[in-house]
């Protein structure tokens, strides 16, 4: 991502970003087929722990929200809910072509087409599905971005919250559902 | 000083009078009962000879502390019963007066045959009274068993007479003491059976459930406290004073008392009807008293009889009234009954707690004496049994009390709205009588040593039995 903004972080922020970059914990939102690419990435073949990355159980603990595949409207509501439970700084990685432009589900009545309309995506990893090599490559890029202070999606989300909210409501109606099964 | 004969003659005379004075017979009854109690204070102690012949050849009456204690209990409770249920008592004036005469005679007489006569008088009046329950079947059972008992008693008497040639108690006691104990087994059994019918002991108490289970406030009180108290006094007179048994026969007597006690308490434990609980409890207490008499422990036995009679009077009267007013005496249906009758509830509670031997009530003093007497005799098994059974007794009484006091479902807070409605179980006089009796239990319990001395006053009881325990001597720091 070529961004021509000046690096105006304070030294403390730089140190903080250094820590964030070297300890990236992910919350996988295993929405689609991409989830199956994660185990090889994690285990001995590719070993993402080398980079200080690891899976986390809950959004509170995680830094990265990893969206691994297509998002139906129902899922997107829950993804947004999860994202809002995460603590800043937080990052979103879109995974596979479905999150980029809808992929093969581009004309489905139930799946969305562009993730970045609803959540601030810092990094897309394209492919259907991306291979672990691609994933590792993407993670390295993400780490680099964080270190340089370029992964600022969470700030963008804060600053343009109205815009994101409007997109969410346009496509989803309501984000939080209250019905017979959710009471 | 009055002649003890008067206590028999006056009620008997008034009983005939009451037949004539139909309108005023209630007052006659009341007057006789009052006079009976008043006379107790002025009676001359000692032996009275009737008919000119001295004992052992003539008929005599013996007024000792034992007889006086019995007459005091029976007379007081008789008066109380008449006071509480005057309207009912009025209908039975003649019968009751005869019964009073019979009871006094039973307690006073020094002659075994006279005892039979007085017992018959009492028993016949009891048969008549039991018919007030309007269940002729039960009266009939009672009649049958009573007759069998009388016959047995008479047979026993004949045997004894043929063996000793006398019917005088003192003489008999002297002669029987020198006889082979085994030879006494048959007459003891026969006489035991005769008295056991009235004293409600196993195996002869088969009539009790029917009669007492359907008693009203008058008959219940009379049967459970007056008659049964008197019968037990007679039992004590015969088996602790006249026919002292030894060895196996004594063990059998003790055993029968013990069985009565245990079985009575066990049977009471499973009842839900108040009157049945009370009647089985009375059976149990009779067993205890009989057991004590058979062991030769007179003073504790007297305490047990007094404690039981007074308590049972209060409780049976209340139970009878409850049945009359509420139509049932199943305590499960009477939750919170005492909420509207707190005074009577208190009296009932005190009586029940006294019976279970709670300290500061008279029953505790009785229990303590029983235990002390047995322990002094180095007998450790019977006290243990008595205590276990006292526990059973406590269990069913507390269950009853709790239910009667507190309305509401199990597992929820008490609900005052669910309480059995109705106040005023008794008319003021009755309530006062019942309450005063319960207060007497409390007072005697608070001052046990005085009560004990009062009972054993003047030369003590037969056998020179005195309180086994004197609480004042047990103070700390001595």
């Amino acid at each position: 991502m070529v961004l021509d903004e000046k690096d105006n972080r304070s030294p403390w922020e730089k140190i903080g970003d250094y820590f964030s970059a070297n300890s990236v914990w992910m919350k996988w939102y295993c929405t689609g087929c991409g989830a199956i690419e994660m185990p090889p990435t994690m285990t001995s073949r590719f070993d993402m722990e080398r980079l200080g990355m690891g899976p986390m159980a809950t959004p509170r603990q995680a830094d990265v929200l990893l969206i691994t595949g297509y998002l139906s409207t129902k899922t997107l509501r829950r993804v947004i809910y999860s994202y809002e439970q995460m603590n800043s700084p937080r990052y979103v990685v879109g995974f596979g072509s479905c999150t980029v432009n809808g992929g093969i589900y581009y004309d489905s009545y139930a799946t969305i087409n562009r993730l970045d309309m609803y959540l601030p995506v810092d990094l897309y990893i394209a492919g259907c599905m991306p291979r672990p090599e691609a994933i590792m490559n993407g993670f390295a890029k993400l780490i680099d971005m964080i270190k340089k202070g370029e992964a600022r999606g969470w700030r963008h989300y804060q600053e343009n919250y109205e815009w994101y909210k409007k997109n969410q409501l346009d496509s989803l109606g309501e984000v939080i559902i209250k019905d017979e099964f959710h009471e | 000083m009055l002649n003890p004969v008067l206590t028999i003659a006056i009620p008997l005379g008034l009983s005939f009078l009451s037949v004539i004075l139909k309108k005023k017979r209630g007052w006659v009854l009341l007057a006789a009962a009052c006079a009976n109690v008043v006379m107790l204070f002025f009676l001359e102690k000692g032996e009275v000879v009737i008919g000119g012949f001295r004992a052992p050849f003539g008929i005599n009456l013996i007024l000792d502390a034992y007889a006086l204690a019995g007459m005091a209990v029976a007379g007081t409770l008789f008066l109380a019963a008449v006071l509480v249920s005057r309207d009912k008592a009025e209908r039975f004036s003649t019968v009751l007066l005869a019964a009073l005469a019979g009871i006094n005679g039973m307690l006073l007489t020094g002659d075994l045959f006279n005892l039979f006569v007085f017992m018959e008088i009492t028993a016949i009046s009891a048969y008549l009274l039991s018919s007030a329950g309007k269940k002729p079947e039960h009266s009939f059972n009672y009649l049958v068993l009573g007759s069998v008992g009388s016959v047995f008693y008479l047979l026993g008497l004949i045997l004894l007479y043929s063996m000793t040639g006398t019917l005088n108690m003192a003489e008999m006691s002297r002669l029987a003491g020198s006889m082979e104990p085994a030879a006494l087994a048959v007459p003891v059994f026969l006489i035991f059976t005769g008295i056991a019918v009235e004293a409600k002991l196993i195996p002869a108490g088969g009539w009790v459930r029917g009669v007492l289970g359907n008693s009203d406030s008058l008959t219940g009180a009379l049967f459970a406290s007056v008659y049964s108290g008197a019968a037990l006094f007679v039992f004590g007179r015969i088996f602790a004073d006249v026919l002292l048994s030894e060895g196996a026969v004594q063990i059998v007597l003790i055993l029968l008392g013990l069985l009565t006690f245990a079985f009575g308490e066990a049977a009471a434990f499973r009842q839900t009807s108040i009157r049945r609980i009370l009647l089985y409890s009375s059976i149990g207490q009779s067993g205890l008293a009989a057991m004590l008499f058979a062991t030769g422990l007179i003073f504790p036995a007297v305490l047990v009889i007094i404690s039981n009679s007074v308590s049972k009077f209060v409780m049976f009267t209340t139970a009878g009234k409850i049945t009359e007013i509420h139509g049932t005496d199943d305590y499960r249906e009477l939750g919170g009954l005492f909420r509207g009758n707190r005074l009577i509830g208190t009296a009932f509670t005190i009586s029940a707690l006294s019976l279970t031997g709670i300290p500061l009530l008279f029953g505790f003093y009785a229990k303590l004496n029983v235990l002390a007497a047995y322990f002094n005799g180095r007998n450790y098994f019977l006290p243990a049994v008595i205590l276990i059974l006292a526990m059973v007794e406590g269990a069913y009484f507390i269950r009853l009390l709790i239910r009667l006091w507190t309305p509401g479902k199990e597992g929820e807070e008490p609900d005052a709205g669910a309480a059995t409605k109705g106040t005023g179980l008794f008319k003021p006089v009755g309530a006062a009588v019942v309450f005063i009796l319960s207060m007497a239990i409390l007072a005697a319990g608070l001052l046990p040593d005085h009560a004990g001395e009062f009972i054993s006053s003047d030369g003590g009881l037969p056998g020179g039995d005195a309180p086994s325990i004197n609480l004042s001597l047990t103070k700390g720091g001595q």
Partner: protein, 609 residues
């Protein structure tokens, strides 16, 4: 003032409170507060007159340190709990009777602790039993009162038996003399010892008499459960104390089989104590009702007290004596906290509440500190006393009892945490959104008890000094106390320094916490739910079957209550048989039995003469 006059005044005041309550319920409640505080003050002032002997009619009193100590424990529970009375009067069915019996039972306990002879002891003992039985029935359950009374009666009757047996041997009722008279006959002494301590066991809720505690504590009026658990249960400890000190058990049983230096009968009782610790703990873990849970915890803690007292040594005994104070304070406070919650929400079922901390923070802190003390976690009083008990056990090498003690101690973390989590933490229920903290008058006793618990943990020597006096009077070597330190053969404990270091650690953590950026406040419902939307707090609250996997391991264990039910059914069955056989209403049957009796007489007279 002599004890008798004091008691008489209390009884008169009790009667007065009866009439005050009849006139005005709330005023009657306040009357109990005044009277119980007066009694506490009187007893506290009696410290100076220790050693006196008094008598009144047939009652004999003797003022001892141990009686004073127990009275203080008891009256603390009574007086603190009485602050709740005025607010619960409207829920009582017999408010006047309640107040009267409350004060009568209080007077009874004082009389019992200062009793100089057995008759006095027994009279006051029974007074407490029946008065409290009539109070308990005003709560949720009539059966509870019944069970309580019957099991108390088991103990009372056994005690009466023991008293009379001792009396028949040694000819006196004076406590010490009656027992020392038994020294010549160990067989009788054993019977007396076991029978006498039975009432203590039943009152303390030692296995197999523990069944009444959950019933009675759980169902008694909320204002009486603290007294039951904090106070009346300790009467059993008093009996246990008498059994080993006034009754010189160690000397009399000195020749018997010894296990690790403990005579077999005492070791057996210790095993019962250990068993109650285990059973109390296991049962407490699976309760659904907060009060029943605390009741079972009293069973377990009763085990500690019993074991401690029975050790009758320098350390463990001190631990047992101190633990009864600590447990009284903590358990009264815990029950009061639950009562406060019940006052606001109307329930004590743990699964029907949650998140009360957000509405009743003070009550929460009171509960927290009291359960910390009960679980024996520093810096609370319960830790010091349990520490002493453990030291005593380790000193003697009582392995199995120690194992049970450890089990109860660790297990207590499990059960004390459960109400904490289910009632106070977790989600606040919709129904309780508008609940408020209780008023000052109800908060006051809870806070006082909590501070006392804390003080007992930080300055344990205040209590232990009294315990050393008791030890001296019992003729055993007192526990060694330095200025702030408790010294035992296996090491020493400086509770004050532990507290300071704890504070130091806490301070560092606090500084570390506040220098970091302030956190974002979110609602309780905003939690991780696997991204599912849940809108009902009741569904997001984990409180039912809290330890389900653990409970499953022993859910088939036999229930002691069934044993009593069987006995009860057996008696009823015998009764039914008797009724059918002897009282069937058929004269023929009766005559048959008369004949049978006749045969027995013939045999007795003729054959077995």
């Amino acid at each position: 003032m002599s004890i008798a006059v004091f008691l008489a005044i209390l009884i008169i005041l009790a009667a007065a409170s009866f009439f005050v309550t009849a006139a005005n319920k709330k005023a009657g409640g306040f009357a109990t507060v005044a009277v119980s505080l007066f009694a506490l003050a009187m007893v506290l002032s009696m410290k100076g007159s220790v050693g006196g002997e008094q008598s009144f009619m047939y009652l004999g009193f003797s003022i001892t340190t141990v009686g004073w100590y127990f009275s203080v424990v008891m009256l603390t529970a009574y007086s603190m709990t009485s602050f709740f009375n005025p607010f619960w009067m409207k829920k009582m069915i017999y408010p006047a009777g309640y107040n009267f019996l409350y004060l009568v039972s209080m007077a009874g306990t004082i009389g019992m602790f200062f009793a100089g002879d057995f008759i006095t002891l027994f009279i006051f003992w029974e007074t407490v039993v029946w008065s409290s039985a009539f109070i308990i029935q005003q709560g949720k359950s009539r059966k509870a009162s019944y069970v309580y009374y019957v099991l108390s009666a088991v103990g009372s009757m056994a005690t009466l038996f023991a008293i009379m047996l001792a009396y028949s041997v040694s000819g006196t009722f004076v406590i010490r003399d009656a027992f020392t008279g038994l020294a010549g006959s160990p067989g009788t002494a054993l019977v007396v010892f076991l029978a006498f301590i039975l009432s203590g066991l039943s009152k303390m809720g030692i296995f197999p008499f523990h069944v009444w505690l959950p019933e009675a504590h759980g169902s008694a009026p909320h204002t009486f459960s603290p007294v039951l658990s904090g106070g009346l249960v300790k009467m059993g400890a008093f009996i246990a104390f008498l059994s080993v000190t006034a009754f010189p058990a160690y000397e009399i049983f000195g020749d018997m089989l010894k296990i690790m230096g403990i005579p077999a009968p005492i070791y057996f009782l210790m095993l019962l104590g250990a068993l109650s610790i285990i059973i109390g703990t296991l049962m407490a873990i699976k309760q659904e009702d907060a009060k029943r849970l605390l009741a079972y915890s009293s069973v377990a803690n009763g085990g500690y007290i019993l074991i401690g007292i029975l050790m009758l040594d320098q350390v463990g005994f001190a631990g047992g004596m101190m633990h009864l104070m600590n447990h009284a304070l903590a358990s009264a406070a815990a029950f009061l906290a639950i009562a406060a919650v019940a006052y606001r929400t109307g329930t004590t079922k743990m699964s029907e509440m949650g998140g009360m901390i957000h509405r009743m923070p003070v009550t929460y802190l009171v509960y927290l500190i009291s359960i910390i003390s009960m679980a024996g976690i520093p810096p609370m009083g319960g830790f010091v006393s349990k520490w002493l008990v453990f030291q005593g056990l380790a000193d003697k090498g009582l392995l199995f009892i120690a194992a049970a003690a450890f089990f109860g101690s660790i297990g207590s973390f499990m059960y004390v945490f459960r109400p904490l989590s289910a009632v106070f933490l977790g989600q606040l229920f919709t129904r309780d959104k508008d609940v408020r903290e209780v008023g000052f008058f109800m908060m006051f006793p809870m806070v006082v008890l909590t501070l006392l618990t804390l003080a007992a943990g930080v300055f344990p020597n205040i209590i232990l000094r009294v315990v050393t006096e008791i030890q001296k009077s019992a003729g055993i070597e007192p526990v060694t106390l330095a200025r702030n330190t408790i010294v035992t053969t296996n090491g020493f404990l400086d509770a004050f320094r532990v507290f300071i270091v704890f504070g130091f650690g806490f301070a560092i953590a606090f500084v570390l916490f506040i220098v970091r950026r302030k956190s974002r406040k979110v609602g309780l419902m905003d939690t991780y739910t696997s991204a599912e939307f849940i809108h009902t707090p009741e569904l997001l609250h984990y409180s039912h079957s809290f330890y389900a996997p653990f409970e499953r391991l022993y859910d088939k264990a036999p229930d002691t209550m069934n044993m009593y039910k069987k006995i009860s059914a057996g008696i009823a069955e015998l009764g039914g048989l008797v009724e059918a056989v002897f009282y069937g209403g058929k004269p023929a049957k009766t005559i048959f039995w008369i004949m049978a009796a006749g045969m027995v007489f013939f045999l007795a007279g003729g054959v077995f003469r």
